[in-house]
Structure formats: C-alpha cells, structure tokens
Symmetry: C2
Subunit: 465 residues, 2 copies
Amino acid sequence: MKPNVAAARDALSHLEIDDKEVSVRSKSRDFFWYSPVLKERLDHVVGDFVVAPKTEAEVIEVLKTCYAHDVPVTTRGAGTGNYGQAMPLEGGCILHLKNMAAVKEIHPGRVIVEPGCLLKDLDAACIEQSGQEIRMYSSTWATATIGGFIAGGSGGVGSCTWGSLRDLGNIIRLRVVTMEEEPRILEFTGEALARVSHAYGTNGIITEIEMPLAPAYDWVEMFVAYDDFTPAMELAEAVANEDGILIKLATVFEAPIAHAYFQRVKPHVEEGTHMVGLMVAPHSMDGFLTLLARMGGTLIYRSDDNDWERTPGPVFEYGWNHTTLRALKVEPSITYLQVRYGYPQHKELIGKMRAEFSPEVLQHLEVLREQGKVMFAGLSLVKFTTEERLDEIIRMHEEAGAMIFNPHRYTLEEGGRQTVDDRQLAFKREADPKGLLNPGKMIAWDDPNWAFDRMYAYPKMQAAE
Amino acid sequence: MKPNVAAARDALSHLEIDDKEVSVRSKSRDFFWYSPVLKERLDHVVGDFVVAPKTEAEVIEVLKTCYAHDVPVTTRGAGTGNYGQAMPLEGGCILHLKNMAAVKEIHPGRVIVEPGCLLKDLDAACIEQSGQEIRMYSSTWATATIGGFIAGGSGGVGSCTWGSLRDLGNIIRLRVVTMEEEPRILEFTGEALARVSHAYGTNGIITEIEMPLAPAYDWVEMFVAYDDFTPAMELAEAVANEDGILIKLATVFEAPIAHAYFQRVKPHVEEGTHMVGLMVAPHSMDGFLTLLARMGGTLIYRSDDNDWERTPGPVFEYGWNHTTLRALKVEPSITYLQVRYGYPQHKELIGKMRAEFSPEVLQHLEVLREQGKVMFAGLSLVKFTTEERLDEIIRMHEEAGAMIFNPHRYTLEEGGRQTVDDRQLAFKREADPKGLLNPGKMIAWDDPNWAFDRMYAYPKMQAAE
C-alpha cells in the first residue's frame, strides 16, 4: 500500500493543482507554531501537491483517485488552526477547499453554505440578504473558513450566549463525502453530526454545511478597566448571567496583558490594569451600563463613541486565540493553555491557579455557556521555558480539577478529553477503510491501546530532513 | 379632601367618557375572580366613570383635573390581570388606555410603542415591518396590552430564554406622567425603571414604552407526553439548558391536568399522562428532536405536522395563567398559587411539594431563567376548600423554602416579596403626593408599619352594598 503520489497527481491534473514548492510548503502549514512543542515536531511537515476542487463532484474525484493510489489526503480551509489539524504528517495530497465557498441558501434562522466560505464572507452575505449572522465564530473570523471552524474548532465569539459547536442545535446538517473506492455522499443531522464535526477531516470530507443564524446587530464593542482581577472576572460573569442583556463576547485579561501586549490599548491602561473585553447588542446597552454602574469598572473604550486617536479594531480580535497571537508577537516565548473552569467551581479554581502561577501563567478567560451555566474557558498565557515545565503546569491544573485541552498536541484525543471518541472511530472504519484521511491525527485508529502516558508520536510521520 | 367626582367628570366631558353603568362596571374589573379570596373581597368594586384619552396631553389633562378635584385614578389596559391591579378600590376615575395604542418606531432590536397597544397587535406590526417580535408576553397575548403587562406583569412566554421583565435589558425606557398639580413628564431608563414597572400604576402613568425585540420565528409548538412526572420536568429543564436550542416556552403539566382540563388534548392522552408544552424555533428542531430521543418522551402534537382533527390552538394558551383558566372553566373550585422554585433546589422542592399535596395541589411549572440559571416558576393548581387551608398550603410551601407570590392578595407587597419597595414608595411620594393613583394597592403608602401577619384590608375600600 505504498502511495503512488505521482500517479494520483497526474490523474488529477485537469483540476486546479498547485505543486510549486514554496506554495505547497505554505499550504502544508497552519498556526501550529503558537505551540513551541508543535513547532519543534511539525515544522518540517510538507505535502506533495495541493488540489483545489470547485465542486463536490471534483472532491469525489480527488478522493476516489487518491484512494486508488493509496495517497493520504489532508483537508484544509484557511489553515488558521493551532494544532496542526491541517498539516499532512505523511505528505500526500492537500485538499484545499478555497474554491467551494458558495453561500447557497439563506432562510430565517439558518444558512446553507459550502465549507470553503470565509466566516466574514458568510456573515456579509447573511447580513446583506437577511440581517442575520452566524451564532459563533473563531477570532480568526476575517481569514478562517466555516468548514475549518467546524472540523477543527470548538467555539468562540458567541459561545458566551450559544454554547459550543458540539452543543445540540449549533450545527444543523453536514453533507459528507467518504474516502472509499466509490465515495458515498452522506447527510448527517442530530447525533450523527458528532461523527465528523471536530474530527479534523479524519473520517470524511464536509462538502455542505447548514448552520443556525442569529440576528445581526451593530454590536457595541468595549473595554472595561479594573484595578483588581476578581471584579473584572465578576463583571464578565455577571453580564453573561443577565438573561435580558444580549452579548456576543465577554473576555477577561489579567494584568499586565492589556498593557504589555495590546499596543493600541497600552496608552489607555496601566501595567496593573485588569481588563474586560465585551460585545453587547446596542439595545442592551442601557441594561449593560446599569450593571456596570453597580459593579464599578471604568469604561475606557466603546466602539460607537470614543476619542482614541488610534482605535483598536474589532474587540473580538483581542479575545480567544488572538490574545495569544498578540502576546507572542511582543514576547516570542509566550505560549498558552486551554483550560475548562467548570461551573460552579470556576472562580475558585481560577483564583487557585492565579495564586499558584501568576505571572508565569497569566489568566485570559472567555465566558462560555455550558449546559445552561455560565463558566469560563481559559486560554492562559504561559511564559514558556521547557516542555517539562509546561507539562508540569498542565498536570497541576488537572490535579486541581481544571480540565486541560492540550494545545501542544496534534491528535484529536490529546487535544480533547484524552479519550477515544467511538463515534468518530466507528465512522472512520466505515468511511476511510484505508486510513488515508489526515493520517496520524486519530490515535484510536493507529494504536487503540495507547495509554496517554506521554506525547503521542505518529510512527509514520515524515522524517525531518 | 373629599373627591368631587362630578366636577372632574364634567371638566373632562370633552374627552371620550363612558359612564354607562354596565360598561363602567365591566371596565372596573379584571380577572381577579381566578382567586376565590379576591372574588369575595372585590366583586362589588366599581368606578364612577371611565375616560379614554387619545394623547399624552389628554392623559395630563385627566390627571391634572382629577388632582384638582381629589378624585382617585385607576389606570387599566385590557384588564386581564389577576390581582385586582386595575380595580378602583375607592371608585373614582378609570383611566382606560385603549386609545393610546400606536406603534411609533421599530428598529433592529427595539420598538417604541404606546401603552394601550395589544401584545398581539404589537407583534403583528413588528413582524410585518421587521421580522421581529417582543421577547416575552403573558398568555393573554391576544387580549392584553403592553402597558398592562409592564405595570402589572412579571414575565411569561419567553421568560425561559430572556428572564423576567424586571431583569436588566428587558425594558429599555418608560415615559411617565406624574399626578401633581402640574403633571410632569419623566423618562426612565436603567435603575429608574424599577420605580414604575410592576407598580400597578400607583405612582405614575406610563405613556410610552421602549422594549427590546427578538427575531420572530414560526415557532414549532408541541406537546410531549410522559407516564411519569419527573422525566417530564427533566425534559423541560434540559431543553432550556441546551444553549444551542432556542425556545420560547417550556411548560410542565402534572397528570391529570392535560386529560382533565384540556378538552382538545384529552383524546390524545390518558388520565395519567404528564405533559410538556413547548415552543421551539424551527431551526432548532433537529437539535430538539435529538434531545427528545435521548430523554424518551412521546411527541403527541406538533403544530407544523399533525393529524389532530381539532387542533389545540396556540400551545402558549395552555401555559402560564391560561392553565388556571382552563382548569377553572371545567372545575370552578380550582384556584392557583404562584411559586418560585429557585436553582439549585428547584427539582427537590417540587418533589417535596408534590409528595405533600398532590392531587389537592397539582404541579404546573413554567421554565424561567433567573440570574442565568434555569429554574421553575410554579403556577400550581389548587382545589380550593377554605381560605384557612389555602393559607396553610402557602405557609407550608414557604416553610419548605419555596417562595410564594400570593395571587390571593390585591396589594403590591403581598403579591410580591412581602417587603416594601423603597424605590416605588419614594417615587410615589414625589409623583403622587395626594395618593390618588390606584389607591389601596401599596401598603407602604397607607400603613408603613404593616406587619404582614394577616391579609391587608384597605380601610377606604368601597363598602359592598
């Protein structure tokens, strides 16, 4: 079963193929370099050629051809993921979905779209045609695709109100092509959605997506400053618990994140400023300002009324993983954790972790709804020293009761709950019998008895040169 | 300070006046008769004349004139309240707002409307012009006014998502006219809203309302049947805790409510059927049906797809206080309680009350969000025997930790938390110095030292003939 890459490439040469070395290398990468651990492991990874189908029929042709020639296929949207999701560990074909970007239908409450559509283009179409927008998006909204968000993301801006992508109702339908001798087209709804969402394209290729929509508003974007951390955290929690105040983002930045890493914010804060970033619906502003007056923060920026010489741009581009990006641009040794501070211990846990680790680990919190409760996701900033210390920090979080989704791993399991997802594995058996889709990303496929006692190293990974 | 009703009536005779005995009597009443206690106390209450101003200027004229002649003014919308809110205990002028019903402006996320607009007319205008609807409404949507809902209501259909009217953001602005020698016009937002919302018109007359809007959907209305009570309650709670499933109503009916009192539902259920009534957004139906399959109820009715010979009409007209209405039409001895089962003890408390009182008291639960948590409001059906037994049932609920908002009382305090609302009292001192607005409804005004040890009896209430 040795891959015959040249034969596959030739058989697909009537499609849009890219095999220029520089651009294949660039299209073989995502934002894995946020993690020094992944940077060391994956920096050399490169595919053999890129194919960009224009239709589902062409997707089928690519899969069928690669199946025939035993060529691995790694699918990518814009490559804005952070875990090497879209990186071809064994080389082979990179299936680039940029040409499948049509917004097909917009209805009240839902949209049907192709996977390669950029989140911002999807929103623009929905707003223009219907005054609606997607419920949630990653902070890479301007550059990421809807397909990549579903296959590689879990939530983001909007999750403070709508929960996570995995929650019932946040994806309506996925159309999926299998990697078989004769690829099949399947339509997934309900429980079946979990087979392929957040599966990194390891068990099928999403060719059409139906997503719920929410009304689009001219969100008022704000920064609120506090001298202390706890009241900042409490404002973010309180605004999310106000059922009558509609929000799209509530982010907490421990000092000195705002001063040290947010250049346009820096002139307006002190080193000791703890900051909350918010997006509030305009018709909820009276309620929000009433709450703010009760809780005593200082509103230092609002997008609809400010005198900042240089405005900060979208506030959501300071939240989620854009916080990490801004920090490591200033301080290259910064990396991050992904923590779940579950209700009702969330604030207590955060206090403990802060007492233990600040400033080596700085709290960056995102309000998240989980099973109807307001809690926090932490995308803590970590001053990286060694892998051993990073692992120790992670272990101490876990021992304290904070769940870690390790962003320094490239497999589904290690970046998730360190357990096998039987639904995804079972579907991979059915839909990708040769194991050609995004190889090395699902441990359960490669090594069912893996004990998660150390970092998984895919045995068939390309050797670094 | 003896009222000169005739002088006031004459001075207002150029306005729309109604002083025909039958219709004045009818316009002096609300749905107080849901309570046998109130029925006995208030049945004889009648005003002297009804005036229906067409403009805010006419409202001012009425208030100024009645102030000059010391005539009490009791304001009413459609009179669909249940606590005698709109009943003129001392007689005098009934200020009927039916002619002030204009929908003035509709914007994304908000509407500006006059108080006499029917909820259904408001929704119709918002839907037609903008595809939006109000966030919440009473089950009397078809007949009640927005002003009456704000002045006399607390929440309703939609509160499972948006919380209560009192929550920040659920009322944006109220314009209020005072009852002084020279009435003033005030605009209230933020903290000031609490002065006059849910104040029964005791301290000012609302002449303009700004409310938030939500997107209007073709809600799928459903009934789900269970053989046991607990799973029915758990479905209602679970669907409300699914952040990705958008709902407008989740109601639980203990057996045999559905069979005994819902005539069009009766052929489809058994006496032992516990039922859940739901309104779910159409684009959330896949998620909802997935949840339902997990939780195992039987979907016996959905509004968009059913073969019922006689359809039940709007499902929300089975919930909130329409449940009581339907029950007492069949069984006149039925009355009700209003209970707050607060998170996280809600289910345990409900279980206790059920064990203690069923079937004398049958559980009718409405899912409600309070401070970000899903909990239950109970509008329990009570087989009324005596006032003493009713008081005992209430006391036992309170002793168990379930808060009661007593619907068998006509004062703000007794129907609320049995405490004085200082904001409302302070504003009444300023805005109604003669105490002429809806007299007898605010104990704090009449008797600041009242101990709440027995039912308050307004000393100046009209004597029964």
